[in-house]
Amino acid sequence: MPGIKVDKNHCKGCETCVKVCPQQILTMSKDITVRGYFYALMADPSRCIGCRICAISCPDSAIDVVTNGTVFELFPY
């Protein structure tokens, strides 16, 4: 199953990933990081398709996309 890992050290809470996720499954945390930012979370991890769009768009390279199972054929990047 695909999913993302958000690095709380890098995430600055810009919400770009939330905006671009085609599945609209990302949301922001309620608590803040040591740097004072809300960070991105998967609200509904089960719906992630591993498309990498969030990661490609993240200005802080805070997102890793991982999978331990099936994903669709990915666009070349």
Binding site: H10, K12, E15, T16, K19, P59, S61, L74
Partner: protein, 258 residues
Amino acid sequence: MNEDARTLFSRPESLNEVVTHYCPGCTHGVIHRLVAEVLDELGVRENTVGVAPVGCSVFIYKYLGTDFLEAPHGRAPALATGFKRLRPDMMVFTYQGDGDLASIGMGEIVHAANRGEKITTIFVNNAVYGMTGGQMAPTTMPGQVTTTSPGGRNVNDTGYPIRVAELLSALVTPNYIERVAVHTPQHIIKAKQAIRKAFTYQKEGRCFSLVEVLSTCPTNWGKTTEESLDWVESRMVPYFPLGCYKDPETAEVPDGAV
């Protein structure tokens, strides 16, 4: 379909594990990553020197894993020229903002491009002076409010925004010049292709290459990330049309240039 357990996306090797000083949502970070990915893909990190500008990206040397020079404001193309002329075997790129490249550094970029220096310039156009707190840049949009155009840029007083890609493409020397943007995933993908092409041409010793990247500055635009990304599309792209302006493959040399 594909069934392996694996990482589908992670930070490129050439991008250091360091938290940047960029503001939340600032697309300088995206552009850094694209450069890092291309360096990785071409396998040139260890044979590359970057030239950092003065501007928000002055610290790029902390973020990318190549050697770096830190240039005076606007002069990165001159440093790159000096370096490359002595080390044509190395890859040399400059990373410059619009204040840096299009204002104080106009002379240097025009001449580096005109000489056809075998270097690559990543030109980050965010329509404002980011680092110094939001003054008007040569690329500031008509009517755009900045700290030094508090009534909005008045084109009768300060002219129209400079379109760098078009301007440099007016030079005869055959170069590679393309304008891209990074405000949507689709644009990011195209931007990366252009950056790769730019570095590839350099690697082949073909020509000077410049990729102009439309970028955001949420902080000085006074906008949220989302508003900023939308503003690139609604205001900047119409005036700064995306696309390839010049390619050595197709460039023509005019009459009289025997």
